[in-house]
């Protein structure tokens, strides 16, 4: 979308307008966003509506937590088509034993390590979106990750960054827990604040703070990168006092995903203005010796997710878990898998629990890969509208219809 339209919407009071739009969306927003046959209607096992679900409308004051699984998560062994004989024959030695997976219906089971996720599923707090990808999944980590994070024609900004550009001016609107700002959280005029899991407080000297404030004062003569440096320090001054006591009290211990999500939880409980959090879990590029490595990673994800969603209780917090691609169906000779195409998205917390999307057929592989049946932008659109309460088109140009995920 051009700059001028974005600025027009800002001046028009975009937030108010988009809340009205989102309330009209409702359940008529189709689940069937892919080219395949009718998708499975969302089903949660059990007959009661999950706590926190809101199928008749959308929450526009929700919080989104984005977890990027870096490396290409093997979706086929995460949400496993256990009732399929083809799965067993094609996967060979990497096929998981159905007796060890956790049944989630429709012929699928969760990887054995996903114990807490299974509990979330039973409580209606887990959703699975099958067959997610995009046209042009070319098995390159870096290109595919850029596409997922940019979600647009230019790789200069990310989708959350563009949401930041239209959503206001508070430097805490989006927070990355980790080390640097990923592309997804970089906008044109501002980017997410970054908070580490460790202590986050300015050195004590009050004179220093004064000098730093002068240092980062507006200076039109600065070159663009110099201005960016000044901006990062100015943002630090703006957020550190708010964040410092919260992080100091946080139960985060260590630097693993559980610690990062514990920091997110503390920040959410402090009722800060933050609407989007983002963090990452690395290591999913399992070209060799996959079984043990994949199990360890899914266990780390499962532990962190279970603890986090449990702690969030009734708060409208939605977790998005995605990866840059799935992996090839057949194993390689190193007891691992090579890069594939479509993957599976997990959503946890305040979600419309159950199956979404359209499982790619194992007898319809594309060059040995699972075919894409759902465009990833329809997932993003569903979250932009259902969690953040903004029209998908504010951020995503020419995207397919949003999925009703919340």
């Amino acid at each position: 979308m051009s700059i001028s339209r974005r600025r027009f919407l800002q001046g028009f009071g975009a937030t108010a307008g988009s809340a009205a739009l989102a309330a009209c969306a409702g359940p008529s927003a189709s689940d069937d966003a892919g080219p395949g046959p009718t998708s499975a209607s969302p089903t949660a096992p059990g007959t009661t509506e999950p706590a926190g679900a809101n199928p008749g409308g959308s929450s526009t004051d929700g919080t989104l937590v984005v977890i990027t699984l870096a490396g290409g998560n093997d979706a086929l062994n995460t949400v496993v088509p256990v009732s399929s004989d083809l799965y067993r024959s094609l996967r060979g030695p990497l096929a998981l034993d159905p007796g060890t997976t956790h049944d989630i219906g429709e012929g699928f089971g969760l990887h054995p390590a996903l114990v807490r996720s299974k509990a979330l599923w039973d409580g209606g707090q887990l959703a699975v979106v099958h067959g997610v990808g995009f046209d042009g999944l070319d098995r390159s980590h870096f290109h595919c990750m850029d596409v997922w994070q940019a979600a647009g024609t230019s790789f200069a900004t990310g989708w959350i960054g563009r949401w930041l550009d239209t959503s206001g001016t508070d430097p805490l609107d989006a927070v990355v827990v980790g080390r640097g700002v990923p592309l997804l959280a970089r906008g044109e005029r501002r980017s997410a604040a970054v908070v580490p899991t460790g202590p986050f407080a300015l050195p004590g000297d009050p004179n220093l703070r004064r000098h730093l404030t002068e240092l980062v004062a507006a200076d039109g003569s600065r070159a663009p990168l110099s201005a960016a440096v000044a901006r990062s320090t100015a943002d630090l001054l703006a957020v550190v006092d708010t964040v410092s006591p919260v992080v100091a009290d946080s139960t985060a211990d260590g630097s693993d995903l559980t610690a990062r999500l514990a920091t997110v939880a503390s920040l959410i409980e402090a009722d800060l203005p933050t609407r989007v959090f983002a963090t990452e879990l690395d290591g999913f590029d399992t070209h060799a010796a996959q079984p043990a490595q994949h199990e360890a990673l899914l266990a780390e994800l499962d532990t962190a997710l279970g603890a986090f969603v449990g702690r969030m209780g009734d708060r409208p917090v939605t977790v998005l878990v995605y990866s840059e691609f799935g992996r090839r169906v057949a194993p390689n000779a190193s007891d691992g898998t090579d890069h594939g195409q479509a993957g599976t998205i997990l959503l946890a917390g305040h979600v419309r629990g159950g199956h979404h999307g359209d499982p790619p057929p194992l007898d319809g592989l594309l060059e040995g890969d699972l075919a894409t049946t759902v465009d990833y932008r329809s997932v993003y659109g569903g979250l932009l509208e259902g969690v953040l309460g903004v029209p998908a088109t504010d951020v995503l140009d020419g995207a397919p219809a949003p999925l009703a995920l919340i």
Partner: protein
């Protein structure tokens, strides 16, 4: 203060050269090198790339002691032995990182290690998976020794490098089921580049605030290689393993796919040597490699940018990396304002730069801030290397730089600031840190802090002009 004469301009350019072609230098070193003008300075800086002239400063740093045999034996032993092995691996890694940082801080000819670091970023291999510090040292030695030579010789050596064989699973790859990891990254990252990278500058186009992307659109350029090329090259790269006797990499004929392959238009019973020759002689290779080097030495650019195309034309003919660097530093664009303000210091450049200008020795504190900022030598986050520019800027990194600036021991440098009258201290600290000039806001902040030399130094260390390279 902006230069007021040609001599001042030349000195400013030499300071810029010493930052980019190294890790910065003391004011006295800049003065000395600037005496004979910029071109002579380029010659002096580049000459050690193609000579065996000793580097007393770098060589004075003691090599870490590796006990690889002991580590491997313990790794397969009892739980207690395995724990000891992990501890040993960690110690050797730390020693190796400190060794490399001390070399960079103390080198008389820092371009060698600077180029080795850039190649390390290019062929990004991580000790996190390789585990054996000695193998990472061997790879770094290869980058040091061959980095200024022909690019294809360098790729030949890296393709056989034991650390690389572990990192990208080359040693797992056999004729019965080839592993595509190394093959893909060889084409996508090391030699030809990916088509989407050709359509944009490195790390997005921060110069363009008009909402569009600079350069040719994705749909206008063709991919230099296909998935079939990746798969076929993988077949040609099968069979290599690491000789347990310590002779490096060895080809095992039984694991090698000796059949006919077709890669990038060449057909035959191709092996590793042929794949390296085919990829490095492909027209996409020179622009891709030149774009990466220009982007890290000058400012972000893609393979189709004018300067890159110009430099790549010569590079394509001889793949001579030392000659490329010389042409790059002599190119008028290298000394433009856009280039001078075009790069953020990487964490290593920032920390080592402070050590060089203040004359302090790297310590464990230096390693800790490198870890916090996200750049530990020998441990890049993934095979595409480290981020750049805006990627290094965040609230978290701003805080880390500030904490480092507050905590460091400036040694004798503080006296230099103190000895100047307060109104001259901002200029004194600019000269001390090798910064050309402070902008208006920075000048005001420094003048306000001038009565407190240590506080003044802290503010200067985190000022945008110093955080930029």
């Amino acid at each position: 203060m902006p230069p007021t004469s040609t001599a001042d301009e030349e000195r400013r350019d030499v300071a810029h050269l010493l930052r980019r072609a190294g890790f910065g230098a003391t004011a006295a070193a800049v003065d000395a090198l600037a005496r004979d003008g910029y071109e002579a300075a380029v010659d002096a800086v580049c000459q050690p790339l193609t000579s065996t002239v000793a580097d007393p400063g770098a060589d004075a740093v003691a090599l870490p002691v590796f006990d690889t045999a002991g580590y491997l034996a313990a790794r397969d032993g009892t739980p207690a032995e395995r724990r000891a092995a992990n501890l040993q691996a960690g110690n050797e890694q730390r020693a190796l990182v400190l060794w490399s940082i001390e070399r960079m801080a103390g080198a008389d000819h820092p371009l060698r290690d600077k180029l080795a670091l850039l190649w390390h970023d290019h062929f990004a291999t991580s000790i996190e998976k390789v585990r054996i510090a000695e193998l990472m040292y061997i790879q770094y030695r290869t980058l040091l020794d061959l980095g200024g030579g022909r690019f294809d010789d360098l790729v030949h050596a890296i393709a056989r490098d034991p650390a690389m064989l572990i990192w990208l699973d080359g040693r797992e790859s056999s004729a019965t089921a080839p592993n595509e990891n190394f093959s893909r990254e060889l084409l996508e990252l090391f030699t030809l580049g990916h088509q989407s990278a050709a359509a944009r500058s490195v790390d997005g186009d921060h110069d363009d605030h008009g909402g569009g992307v600079g350069g040719v659109g994705d749909h206008g350029t063709t991919q230099p290689y296909t998935e079939t090329d990746v798969a076929e090259a993988a077949r040609a790269l099968t069979g290599w393993t690491i000789d347990p006797g310590g002779a490096g990499a060895v080809l095992r004929p039984a694991r090698f796919d000796s059949g006919t392959k077709r890669v990038l238009g060449t057909t035959g019973p191709l092996g590793l040597d042929e794949i390296v020759s085919i990829t490095t002689s492909n027209p996409a290779c020179a622009p891709h490699v030149v774009a990466r080097l220009w982007s890290r030495l000058a400012r972000p650019a893609g393979p189709q940018d004018e300067v890159v195309v110009e430099l790549a034309e010569r590079y394509a003919s001889d793949l001579d990396s030392a000659a490329l660097l010389r042409s790059l530093f002599l190119h008028p664009e290298f000394r433009s304002d856009a280039t001078r303000t075009g790069l953020v210091k990487t964490p290593v450049e920032y920390v080592v730069g402070i050590h060089r200008t203040l004359g302090t020795t790297p310590t464990v504190a230096s390693l800790l801030v490198l870890r916090g900022l996200g750049q530990i030598p020998f441990a890049p986050p993934d095979v595409s290397g480290w981020t750049a520019n805006e990627g290094w800027l965040s609230t978290a990194s701003a805080l880390l730089r500030l904490q480092f600036a507050v905590a460091l021991d400036p040694g004798a440098a503080l006296d230099e600031i103190r000895s100047a009258p307060p109104q001259d201290r901002p200029a004194a600290v600019a000269r001390l840190l090798g910064v050309d000039a402070w902008g208006p806001a920075t000048t005001e902040a420094l003048q306000a802090a001038a009565d407190d030399p240590r506080g003044l130094l802290t503010v200067a260390l985190v000022a945008p002009e110093h955080v930029l390279n």
